[in-house]
Symmetry: C2
Subunit: 169 residues, 2 copies
Amino acid sequence: MYRLTTSMPYLLNRLGVRMGGLFSRRIGSSGLSLPMYRVVASLFEQGDQKLGEIAAMTSIELSTMSRLIGSMASMGLVTRKRLPSDERAVRINLTSKGAALATQLMREAQHYEDVVVSMLEPHEIETLKEILARIYGALDILEGELVLPGDWKRSAPPGPVLPAQRPKK
Amino acid sequence: MYRLTTSMPYLLNRLGVRMGGLFSRRIGSSGLSLPMYRVVASLFEQGDQKLGEIAAMTSIELSTMSRLIGSMASMGLVTRKRLPSDERAVRINLTSKGAALATQLMREAQHYEDVVVSMLEPHEIETLKEILARIYGALDILEGELVLPGDWKRSAPPGPVLPAQRPKK
DNA sequence: AGCATAAACTTGTAAATGCAAATGTTACAT
DNA sequence: ATGTAACATTTGCATTTACAAGTTTATGCT
């Protein structure tokens, strides 16, 4: 029988919120918010990235990321430049200040990781992480279900039956 | 060596955001948001609760919960009453409409649970949930560290050395 | 080449969120 | 009794967030 309090999303959310809250307060004195930390950490680890890549990486919505990068730029943490190869895209990279903060805060993160991991057997850690990744991937199934009723996009226009009656507007 | 992308908080957040987003869209047509779903599910499972209890239960901040319950009340999903025994507290309970929605949406949740769980061996499921709960509890350690510098509250007044020199202010 | 479509962002805007201060109650220690 | 601290919740207010719509640049098709 289903119980909210033992369901996966519930347990996940509960843990996520609490860890996030704790870490957020921990790094608060650095002037960075949790989302900002995620950005600098991502950039530090992956090198320069496009806006959309960072958004995907950090699970932060694109428009939110756009503004976030804006304020981070004005804080001197990152830099924004158009890609010469594709003028639509924007390349974000860390300033030295941003990189310095990243290394500092990642040390804190390391400590958090240590504490969490100290509660677990080594094999449990690996299993846990592998499972989290596996479930993440499995969500494609549920993603697919969302649009199913009617098949969508495949069934919609089976080819224009009539050649565009009127120019739209 | 520490890597953001293999750290526990990162994997947790990523999965949590995605699952939340998917479920949120799934139940969207019911008129309930994800936080609202969590509230009705919690009430359905635990029976009437005080505002603070629901907040703790759902990992939603208290003031946010206050307003959320407000709009849910005006939607006819829940009821607010002062406790006769303690006029400070508020008892929230589901209306029949709220309960109906709860059962309906919990069926959807059940399905989500099924899909996730189908990716896992039975023993993995148990292990995973147990571990998530264990880590959650272990965070007390980190909670404690936050106020450590100076020990706080324990070291502050070792007993009034002088009997309140002056009435403060 | 020329036009429709898609990409990658940015911006408008309304709603959600969180912290701090305020309000109303109860519990405690004189 | 009675003032003070602790509680439970609400409200003020400044951000943050998300969804939709708008820009600008690339691609694809004919």
